[in-house]
Symmetry: C2
Subunit: 321 residues, 2 copies
């Protein structure tokens, strides 16, 4: 069986994702050989998904493959980087052809959409666990960081956070909704769209950026902390999808938006002096973002509703919680 499994794995991963001219040697030797463009910095991220922790056991393999790459694309998007090459470390209890085919299809489709080539990896037997390393680049000195914000900068978020957490709650039957809403929200968990193009454009305008993976409030607080500021989020300004509001109600929808995880949206700060150019060059209707608050001198993260500060018992998903 072992040799058959090797052949299977080889079949699905040897030519996965885009074909890039800057790959000197990809899958098949001890390591990949890659040509990094001149005058850039290399950007490297890694994220792991564990079955039963980051996705329910029995999740669709295409979703697992998609998300394993998406979470890393989102990290690169938060740096304003252009993704290029991925390595995949796949640990699984057994090599089942239909599972591998769907996993590779989910991974490969997202990879091709972002011109990412799978250039190496490792397949091992063990409890289902997927680690992707993603490499990309930014023009030297232009990467977005969490730490560049200043008091007075406006805070924005892309998309409609909270959908993914509601989708997961539906999938795990902790919540219920009519089937159309269910399908939409579950799709937002299973097939997130990392904001790679937005991240690249934000290099021109944003002072700081982070991707929203652990919950908007928690991640906005991290951006503020890294910038040496605090942050105020305006409850009424939170963008909430119609589907989430219908499924969860107005109050709970905003709780999902603030504290749910797995959104893979971008939360970013823009200084006053760049605001007009930003909103003109990247119109919000096309780029799908909303202003949700402001960085402030006083440390900490506060959500303001009708002028008073809201309390939250938890602020976002703790990977190690």
């Amino acid at each position: 069986m072992a040799l058959g499994e090797f052949a299977l794995i080889d079949r699905y991963f040897r030519a996965c994702g885009a074909r890039r001219a800057d790959v000197v040697a990809g899958v098949g030797d001890d390591a990949a050989l890659l040509t990094v463009p001149e005058a850039t910095e290399l950007v490297a991220a890694t994220d792991t998904l564990v079955a039963g922790v980051h996705f329910p056991h029995g999740s669709p393999p295409a979703s697992i493959g998609h998300r394993a790459l998406a979470v890393n694309l989102s990290d690169l998007a938060a740096m304003g980087a252009r993704p290029a090459w991925a390595l995949l470390a796949l640990t699984m209890p057994q090599a089942q052809e239909s599972w591998l085919a769907e996993f590779a299809a989910g991974f490969g489709e997202l990879a091709r959409a972002h011109e990412v080539q799978l250039v190496g990896g490792d397949t091992t037997r063990g409890p289902l666990c997927i680690t992707v390393q993603l490499l990309g680049f930014v023009p030297r000195g232009t990467a977005l960081k969490r730490s560049g914000g200043h008091p007075g900068d406006s805070l924005f978020v892309s998309g409609t956070p909270g959908d993914a957490a509601a989708g997961l709650a539906l999938q795990e039957a902790r919540m219920s909704a009519p089937s159309a809403l269910h399908a939409y929200l579950r799709g937002r968990f299973e097939m997130p769209s990392p904001r790679v193009a937005l991240g690249e454009r934000l290099r021109e305008f944003a002072s700081a950026c982070i991707d929203v993976s652990d919950g908007l409030l928690a991640d906005a607080a991290k951006l503020a902390h890294a910038s040496g500021t605090g942050v105020e989020i305006h409850y009424q300004a939170l963008p909430v999808s119609a589907a989430l509001e219908q499924a969860a109600g107005a109050e709970r929808a905003r709780e999902f938006a603030l504290t749910g995880g797995d959104d893979y949206e971008l939360c970013f700060a823009v200084a006053e002096k760049n605001l007009a150019a930003f909103m003109q060059e990247l119109p919000s209707q096309r780029w799908d973002y909303h202003r949700i608050g402001v960085l402030r001198k006083a440390p900490g993260a506060a959500v303001l509703r009708d002028g008073s500060v809201m309390q939250f018992s938890h602020c976002g998903y703790q990977h190690f919680g």
Copy 2:
């Protein structure tokens, strides 16, 4: 407990390994920012260790940390690359301070020895599983590959393969030996020394190279296959350590040398025209290698003993076996 665990992990991994001037941003943002030297190719490898598969449950944490990096250093050595930056994806059932301290010490000591800086990673809860991604570089166009060998090239191996497999057999009580031999062989499994310096020097002389992780015979066969050749290994020429020969006997020692795994030595081919310069510039006494055979036209891998071909029922460890 979750926040305490985050702080613990941060304490042990924020400053792990060497400090490198080419790291623009390391641990702490969404991704690392790195400066790749001009006129080089980036070299990227990833390898996973799963508890109970790649090391026994209950192995010393320092050994696990050391090996998680060593297996990747060995991949870069096989390309003739100089290692630079590592990312660590650590999945573990719980964050226990003494375990983390020892793991980070084992990883960090080997990283410093090879001037590698830990620049990012991800920590998740789940069954113990460690994936390291290692990045490095080679002068453009000079990387060693598996595929460069030709019939007539001499085949070499560094060190004394088989020790590690015997060490694992001792650790798992599938074999016994006096305590001094036991300690030596077990150390060869638990703390392998990847041949990074040798790999870099081999760029000048070798036509093909692979690291010996799945067993010498299996890996030599892979090198030959990639080069479009076959390979003959001479049984009498196999370098076997005195410890292994004493512990296992002459016959079984050579079986370990041919089919054991986890050596992390280099197996490489040198063309006739480079042989004299190679042996003069890199004397075998100092660089610790032996000539064990030759690449040949006829495909396949054969072990010759007293002029006849030996049969092997298995040829090396199958990661997915």
